[in-house]
């Protein structure tokens, strides 16, 4: 994955670049909005990581300029402003996701991987398959090994989101935001309990577990046989 980091804080930028390299991604870097805009125009990136407050050209303006030129590279906005209105402003300006500082690197990584996947053709497919688990988005039916699994509507959406991002790590916050549309801290491990309920339905009576917990990050659904 080729990532462009537009961030004016040198230390944060070099930490991000090193950490992304460790994960096998190519990370390039711009220290101000102007340079960032030029790089994003000239090269094909999979994801942009844009700091909200930048010298020369504000982060939202960079994204706005790119969108005006029909450059649709997914962009994650990093900001110290975490309130709901700021998030809404960021997404309205053309950002695809919004992460508040301070953040865990695992959260950032999971989010940019999810963003990069959005441009892949899988996004629009009507059937998700992981191993012998099949989810049909049109008929709202889930089967594993040909056996029907009954899910509550919310459980269905939870599984749908996990399977859409099969093989990727999905964080608890991402689940809360995308499955429940809540952008606040629920205080308790609510997501964990929902995931464990889902797991008991799709994994309990089967030899190979598909839904895995990734320590310190979140969850992933994948066929371990591959």
């Amino acid at each position: 994955m080729r990532v462009l980091v537009i961030e004016d804080d040198q230390e944060t930028a070099s930490f991000l670049r090193r950490a992304l390299k460790e994960q096998g991604h190519v990370a390039e870097y711009a220290a101000d909005g102007q340079t960032g805009l030029e790089l994003a125009r000239a090269n094909a990136y999979d994801v942009l990581i844009v700091d909200r407050m930048l010298p020369k050209c504000d982060g939202l303006a960079v994204i706005g300029a790119l969108r005006a030129e029909e450059i649709r590279t997914p962009a994650l906005i990093l900001s110290a402003l975490g309130e709901v209105d700021d998030r809404v402003k960021g997404l309205r300006a053309g950002g695809d996701d919004y992460l508040t500082k301070p953040y865990a690197f695992s959260e950032l990584l999971a989010r940019i991987e999810a963003l990069a996947r959005r441009t892949s053709p899988e996004e629009g497919s009507t059937r998700f398959v992981v191993g012998d688990l099949v989810l049909d988005r049109l008929s709202h039916k889930v089967t594993r090994g040909g056996e029907a699994i009954m899910l509550q509507p919310r459980e269905f959406r939870l599984l749908e989101y996990l399977m859409k991002h099969a093989g990727q790590v999905v964080t608890r916050t991402m689940l809360l935001e995308n499955v429940w549309d809540y952008h606040f801290d629920p205080q308790t491990n609510v997501i964990d309990v929902h995931v464990s309920r889902l797991r008991s339905k799709i994994d309990k009576n089967f030899a190979t577990p598909l839904l895995h917990t990734v320590r310190g990050a979140g969850y992933t659904i994948r066929d371990s046989a591959h």
Partner: protein, 485 residues
């Protein structure tokens, strides 16, 4: 600025002067109008009378010539009254009439004329004003028929002096009244200004004087006093918050620092370091959460965050949040029941209201288990969430069967960082209810804690949208405006 110039500059005083000028002008116009109309009327009567006299005399003249005219004039002159007659020979001498003499000016003029004449009165001779018509008769004779109009001159004099007196009295009362009213008002304004100054100097307990008359100045003072109370409350809150921040943020920071320091000195190698680092991250995450919650509350209390209000169904939102927490409740052996019958619409920020409901349910689940009460209170382990329209308000009621909150602490637990001793065993920052209270305030609502016999009953009330508004939005699904998936 002297006291007097200060007084003259007051709005009331200027207003009194303006009114004085206006009323004065109106009075002058009115009196003048009456005077003028009266004069016109009197003049017309005068002309009519003289014309009638002339007509009579003309008949006499036609009948018997000059001698009969002279006789008639002499006759009429005997009758006392305000009619004046004079017949003059070509030399201007009197032939008949009750005027003693005439001036050259009068004898030379012709037609209507105003003149002064003298007549004997008590203690001498008085000069009076008269109006007459002068005719030339054949043979150089002249006939003068007129009337005494001294009364008219008198009337003008009376009216003029009445006007002057009236204006004078008006001016005295106007200026005097203005002075008194302004002085009274100025004294009150000065009192308010003095209080304001002491408040600015740092004494926030000062309040503006209210004299109970309920006038506009009183109402202004009352409003300002409410504002001052709010400011005082905010300042007190700020002071308290900084104290609390010092305690509740510094303590974990200190713990964090100690742990890192201890790990540095530990000789146990990598696994120990790793464990210390992991716990450090955990601690840092906790701090970040506390910090975020504090910032949110501060922003809400400053009135920010109201930009994303939309019309939404509280009942649906409550069901939605309850569904999120239902498995957690079950895991803890509680039944979470969401009882929402009909949709109730409010104007609210979905995220903020959602968070407020989540905090209330989370609290009820954490602290609402009956076994937490001493020896258990035998009640069904149930957390219930209901929504109800109560008059103009939409109420969200969360009840539990836990130990409840003593009535003496019910106000206090809404404050930042306040955690009752009984709750210390659960993780939490003591900011949950403060945030709910702040959300309620931002939406024009309120948060109340009550007794659930046994347990705690929390009532979050928000202004409901009126039926009329509701019709337009009832068919729309409430707000999933932005969804990033």
């Amino acid at each position: 600025m002297t006291a007097l110039t200060k007084l003259f500059r007051t709005t009331t005083f200027r207003l009194s002067l303006t009114y004085l000028a206006l009323f004065g002008a109106a009075a002058v116009v009115a009196i003048f109008y009456i005077y003028w109309n009266t004069t016109v009327l009197l003049t017309r009567q005068l002309h009519d009378t003289i014309d009638a006299e002339l007509k009579g005399l003309a008949e006499q003249y036609t009948d018997g010539g000059l001698p009969q005219l002279v006789r008639t004039v002499a006759d009429r002159s005997q009758t006392p009254g305000s009619s004046l007659y004079f017949v003059a020979d070509p030399g201007g001498r009197r032939v008949a009439g009750n005027l003693t003499s005439i001036t050259d000016e009068l004898s030379n003029s012709l037609g209507p004329v105003e003149f002064e004449y003298s007549r004997p009165a008590e203690g001498g001779i008085e000069t009076r004003l008269a109006f007459a018509n002068v005719f030339r008769l054949p043979g150089g004779y002249r006939l003068i028929v007129g009337r005494d109009i001294e009364d008219r001159r008198e009337l003008a004099r009376v009216i003029r002096s009445a006007m002057l007196w009236g204006l004078g009295v008006m001016a005295v009362f106007g200026i005097g009244g203005g002075y008194l009213v302004s002085r009274n008002l100025l004294a009150r304004i000065d009192a308010i200004a003095a209080t304001a100054r002491t408040i600015m100097e740092g004494d926030l307990t000062g309040r503006l004087p209210v004299n109970g008359s309920g006038d506009e100045l009183d109402r202004l003072s009352e409003s300002l006093n409410l504002m001052l109370a709010r400011i005082e409350q905010l300042m007190a809150g700020l002071r308290e918050v900084s104290d609390n921040i010092a305690h509740d943020l510094k303590t974990p920071l200190n713990r964090l620092r100690n742990r890192v320091e201890a790990a540095l000195h530990e000789p146990y190698g990598e696994p120990a370091y790793r464990q210390a680092l992991e716990r450090t991250i955990e601690e840092a995450d906790g701090l970040i959460k506390t910090f975020n919650a504090l910032l949110s509350i501060a922003r809400l209390e400053a009135g920010a965050g109201g930009d994303n209000k939309e019309s939404l169904d509280v009942a649906a939102l409550v069901r939605d949040v309850a569904e999120l927490y239902e498995p957690v409740a079950e895991e803890r052996g509680l039944v979470l029941r969401a009882d929402t019958v009909e949709p109730i619409f409010v104007r609210a920020d979905r995220q903020l209201l959602g968070q407020a409901i989540a905090n209330l349910i989370d609290n009820a689940i954490k602290y609402g288990a009956p076994e937490r009460a001493q020896g258990g209170n035998g009640a069904e382990p149930e957390v219930s969430v209901t929504t109800e329209a109560k008059g103009p308000m939409a109420e969200i009621v969360v009840t539990d069967r836990g130990p409840g909150v003593p009535s003496s602490d019910r106000e206090r637990v809404l404050d930042r960082f306040v955690r009752l001793e009984a709750s210390r065993s659960e993780p939490g920052s003591g900011l949950g209810l403060s945030l709910v209270a702040a959300v309620a305030r931002l939406h024009g609502g309120a948060l109340k804690l009550e007794d659930n016999h046994p347990g705690l009953k929390v009532v979050l009330s928000l202004p409901a949208e009126s039926q009329a508004l509701l019709n337009g939005v009832a068919h729309q699904a409430p707000g999933h405006e932005l969804r990033s998936a």
